[in-house]
């Protein structure tokens, strides 16, 4: 009952205000790709020094949970995860929005996020000390297999296109090995360039891989970006009904999210991917996943918000941060003079319990605050004229990639990867396997090498890799995920055969696919050659990937040349928007390259204007153009001002400003 006493302590008007403000601010930050929960929490930490510890913590926790939730908006509305946690939200959220169900998707994301957040926070309140042991039961081997499990999702993500999915994953894994290796310390694949030393930044890669193709598509047609919902609005009642009908999915995903949140270093993106896989497997209609199945959104969003509460468990109980924002909050606690660790719950119980109640309250407040912001965000994406929308999305990709490290190099990497992603996706290589490889690569490699070192030292390599109970469970789950689509595919093929319809009917030769496969063979060979200089520890993982990539690509090339059904041929022709697409594809690198030459503000203003012109299809009157010009100038200058004066980023001034 003492626990309820702290509820009263958390319920002061001041704390409520902090929770509401924090959640709202967090949601907005999360919705903007590149502006992350980590950044928002880091900027606001100094302000909490002046508050009492519990209030400060509530504010930080509210921002954090809001940001994880807000990531869903960008995922649903523009196919770009606002934070890495909502990668899997794009799989079904964006298709839903394209079909006119964007409002419903936002409602579902909100409900699932709130429930997931509550499950995580309640676990933190009631079960933290015993659950913290989960973090300790996971050793390097388990992390390795968890990453492999995540990679098996590719098999189900790219049904009928498995080879291309696998090659894409190898490419993503390759990207993850660039830079200084954590284990071994080798400098790999940097081409001698400073910018690649720190590796490919995940957030800027996500922005590029997902969002650049969206921008190119935005300008290519005069059609509206999203179909406005016929039924209008957020379809609240329908959303609640749908969430209730799938309560098992909501609950399962929340539990998965909580448990994965407890694992330091795993985080919201993996939680979302794993629960997405599980939701798909449990579904009676797995083939509709990836085409706008509401359960995909529910699973991801419930899981990623559950990681917030889950992540606090090792942070508060063991003093080991579960996620990067947890790490900053941990620092803030230390500065406040609070000693975390096993003694915290007994010695500082009042602060901790008040904070957890605050987190619960903030999570509940996310429902009204999120729906309100979501309604506005949805309406503006649907209503804003396309030229303005395309230019704003392009601006946000540039700002997002820049803001992560105040670094123009990240913007250039983002644009480069984005253009590669667009080209590859034309030939059937989807961006998601690449992102999966990039997200999971480092976890897989570190887990593998650590397991090898420990197993080698004790002379028990076999048992280390395959003999540990949790590992065996994860391996079995991975096998199930891997084999399930194959089985159902076989069944479907048999059915097709008996009905006398051969699978691949009159496909044109997939020349692009053959060229891409050839390119990947060359890349794999270069990777192998590059491992020559690395130490044994640093060479084994990239070497394995290179061999796999060459193998898959050779098989793909061979199958395509024989015109077997290894993937669909690209849609014929580039369509009417080709010129505009090329114009934008040329503009973006120029934009990224000029940022530090002519200054962030001036370059972006000019590029924004050019984008609007490229994206304009109607014969727009001069008056409308003036209005758009003013709006555009206000948007660019506003974001620039926020970067310089609120986020205090070092924005390049160049020749002008």
């Amino acid at each position: 009952m003492q626990i309820l006493g702290y509820l009263v302590a958390a319920l002061t008007p001041y704390n409520l205000l902090l929770a509401l403000a924090g959640v709202s601010l967090g949601t907005i930050v999360g919705a903007l790709p590149g502006l992350s929960a980590t950044m928002a929490v880091a900027v606001l930490v100094p302000f909490t020094f002046a508050m009492d510890p519990a209030s400060g913590l509530i504010a930080l926790g509210a921002i954090y949970t809001g940001a994880i939730y807000g990531g869903a908006f960008a995922a649903i509305l523009v196919n770009t995860p606002g934070t890495p946690s909502s990668i899997a939200t794009t799989f079904d959220g964006y298709p839903m929005a394209r079909k006119g169900d964007g409002g419903l998707a936002i409602t579902l994301a909100t409900i699932s996020s709130v429930v997931g957040g509550l499950v995580g926070a309640i676990s933190l309140l009631l079960l933290a000390p015993p659950l913290a042991r989960v973090a300790l039961a996971f050793g390097p081997t388990e992390y390795f297999w968890l990453a492999i499990f995540g990679l098996t999702l590719i098999a189900s993500l790219s049904v009928g296109n498995t080879l291309k999915g696998l090659i894409g994953a190898c490419f993503g894994l390759f990207l993850s090995t660039i830079g200084v290796a954590v284990v071994g310390g080798d400098v790999r694949y940097t081409l001698g360039m400073q910018r690649f030393l720190g590796g490919i930044d995940l957030t800027s890669a996500i922005i590029g891989l997902y969002c650049i193709p969206v921008i190119l598509d935005l300008v290519a047609t005069p059609n509206p970006h999203l179909r406005a919902a016929e039924t209008g609005g957020l379809r609240l009642a329908e959303g609640f009904r749908l969430a209730w009908a799938n309560k098992l999915n909501v609950l399962r995903s929340s539990v998965i999210g909580t448990v994965i949140g407890i694992l330091p270093g795993a985080g919201g993106s993996i939680a979302g991917l794993v629960s997405y896989t599980e939701a798909r497997r449990a579904s009676k209609d797995p083939d509709s996943f990836g085409k706008g199945n509401p359960n995909g959104v529910i699973a991801t969003e419930a899981a990623n918000n559950a990681t917030v509460g889950g992540g606090f468990i090792p942070t508060l109980v063991l003093g080991i941060p579960g996620t990067p924002p947890d790490a900053i909050i941990l620092g803030a606690l230390l500065v406040q003079g609070i000693k975390i660790g096993p003694a915290l719950f007994s010695a500082q119980g009042a602060v901790v319990d008040t904070f957890i109640w605050g987190l619960l309250i903030a999570t509940v407040l996310m429902l009204p605050a999120g729906l309100l912001i979501g309604r506005y965000a949805f309406a503006s994406v649907v209503k804003v004229p396309k030229p303005l929308l395309a230019a704003t999305v392009a601006l946000l990709t540039v700002i997002g990639a820049f803001a992560i490290h105040s670094n123009v190099d990240d913007v250039q990497t983002m644009v480069g990867l984005g253009l590669i992603s667009w080209l590859l996706s034309r030939y059937g290589f989807a961006p998601s396997p690449i992102v999966l490889g990039l997200v999971l690569g480092q976890i897989a490699e570190q887990g593998f090498v650590q397991t090898y070192l420990i197993g080698h030292a004790s002379g028990s390599l076999g048992t280390m890799f395959f003999g540990r109970p949790i590992s065996i469970a994860i391996i079995l789950a991975a096998l199930a995920t891997l084999l399930y689509p194959l089985v159902s595919q076989l069944r479907a093929r048999n059915k097709a055969k008996t009905e006398g319809k051969a699978g691949a009917v009159q496909q044109g030769r997939d020349t692009g696919g053959v060229i891409a496969a050839g390119g990947f063979v060359i890349l794999g060979a270069l990777m192998l050659w590059g491992t020559g200089k690395a130490s044994a520890l640093g060479a084994v993982f990239p070497g394995t990937i290179a061999v796999a990539m060459i193998g898959f690509s050779l098989v793909l090339g061979f199958m395509l040349l024989r015109r077997r059904g290894a993937g669909r041929a690209p849609e014929a022709g580039l369509g009417s928007g080709t010129l505009r697409r090329i114009a934008i594809a040329a503009l973006l690198p120029v934009w990224a390259l000029l940022l530090s030459v002519t200054g962030f503000l001036v370059t972006s203003l000019a590029a924004f204007a050019v984008t609007m012109v490229i994206a304009d299809y109607s014969r727009t009157s001069a008056r409308t153009w003036i209005i758009r010009a003013i709006a555009g100038a206000a948007i660019v200058t506003g974001f620039w001002w926020i970067m310089v004066h609120v986020l205090l980023l070092r924005v390049p001034a160049g020749l002008f400003l």
């Binding site: 980590t38 880091a42 930490v45 100094p46 020094f49 973090a135 300790l136 996971f138 050793g139 390097p140 830079g179 200084v180 290796a181 954590v182 284990v183 071994g184 310390g185 400098v187 001698g192 400073q194 030393l197 720190g198 590796g199 930044d201 330091p264 270093g265 090792p314 063991l318 003093g319 080991i320 941060p321 990067p324 947890d326 790490a327 900053i328 941990l330 620092g331 803030a332 230390l334 500065v335 003079g337 000693k339 975390i340 660790g341 096993p342 003694a343 490290h405 105040s406 670094n407 480092q442 570190q446 650590q450 070192l453 420990i454 080698h456 030292a457 004790s458 205090l648 980023l649 070092r650």
Partner: protein, 317 residues
């Protein structure tokens, strides 16, 4: 009475005068303090501790930003491109800035960087989980001698202060242990707590949060730590192992001498604040007083030591 009051006030004014003048000239606006690592590590936490006293000492607040990547090399390789006006400073770590350039091309050379103050270090310590059979360092060494390579130590990163300490200890004790690098202190401590490795070669600071969940067998400080009076130093046990990771503040090479000294003085002054001293000691940090004037000698000495250590690790041959 009156005269004494006046004298006292005058004396106080005189004492405060250099400080007041400096507050007018530098800094006159907030300083940006870049941490080249992720939040939550020792570099971040010690900088956050400084942040609380920074405004009191310098008259202006400090803003902490993170620019992680390549174990710090990403940020350090860009340090000298920043304007040298003293308003952007960067955290800097030893032995990182000596070992990294030895490893290969990381975009900077040790001599390119301008550290102006190293304000603390975190000694290495050997940890074992509380249910470990090894109660003392001697027991662990005996086991390691009988079973070469079987003892595994979790530590933070490759070619880090942890690994350097492990390699030096192997040499001093005449044993062979296996170092398992993790992506930071948090994951490596998790591995120790979970019994994934025999023990950990970590910083003392990790012991602060864990209470009695981990046992500290020895610490590589000159003297026993105030926070852990019962833990012997390596020196006491007959191994000449002192050191760990030093953390400090660097400025771009274009920064004028006067400003370098001023930044260094701010850091030194914070090191004298009672609140700060207490926080740091409670956290397991050992304060040092290596200002800009002492820097050349200190860097020469440390570089020599680390280069010898690097040979033990097999780097830079």
């Amino acid at each position: 009475m009156k005269i004494r009051t006046v004298t006292a006030v005058l004396a106080a004014l005189l004492a405060a005068a250099p400080f007041a003048v400096r507050a007018e000239s530098f800094p006159s606006k907030p300083i940006t303090y870049i941490i080249p690592f992720d939040a939550g590590g020792e570099s971040d936490i010690s900088a956050r501790f400084q942040q609380t006293d920074w405004e009191k000492v310098s008259g202006q607040p400090v803003i902490i930003q993170y620019q992680p990547g390549a174990g710090g090399a990403q940020a350090w390789s860009q340090l000298n491109q920043i304007a040298g006006d003293g308003y952007t400073i960067m955290g800097i770590n030893l032995p990182h800035i000596v070992l990294q350039p030895l490893m290969g091309s990381v975009g900077y050379k040790t001599a390119d960087l301008v550290p102006v103050n190293f304000f603390h270090y975190t000694p290495n310590a050997i940890f074992v989980p509380k249910d470990s059979p090894y109660k003392t360092l001697a027991e662990l060494v005996t086991y390691a001698k009988a079973n070469p390579g079987m003892v595994t130590f979790a530590g933070s990163g490759s070619n880090s202060a942890n690994q350097l300490g492990q390699a030096q200890f192997d040499q001093l004790a005449g044993i062979k242990t296996t170092y398992v690098p993790f992506s930071g202190t948090g994951p490596s401590v998790t591995a120790v707590l979970g019994g994934q490795t025999t023990g950990g070669f970590n910083y003392v600071t990790s012991g602060m949060n864990q209470g009695d969940a981990m046992r500290m067998l020895a610490v590589s400080a000159e003297e026993r730590m105030p926070a852990f009076p019962d833990v012997p130093t390596f020196k006491e046990l007959g191994y000449d192992l002192v050191g760990g990771a030093y953390r400090g503040v660097a400025v771009p090479a274009s920064t004028p001498e006067a400003v370098r000294q001023q930044v260094s003085d701010i850091v030194t002054k914070i090191n004298q604040q009672p609140d700060f001293i207490k926080r740091m000691q409670d956290g397991g940090f050992v304060l040092t007083d290596i200002g800009y004037k002492q820097m050349p000698d200190f860097m020469v000495r440390q570089t020599k030591e680390y280069e010898a250590g690097a040979k033990a690790l097999g780097i830079g041959n």
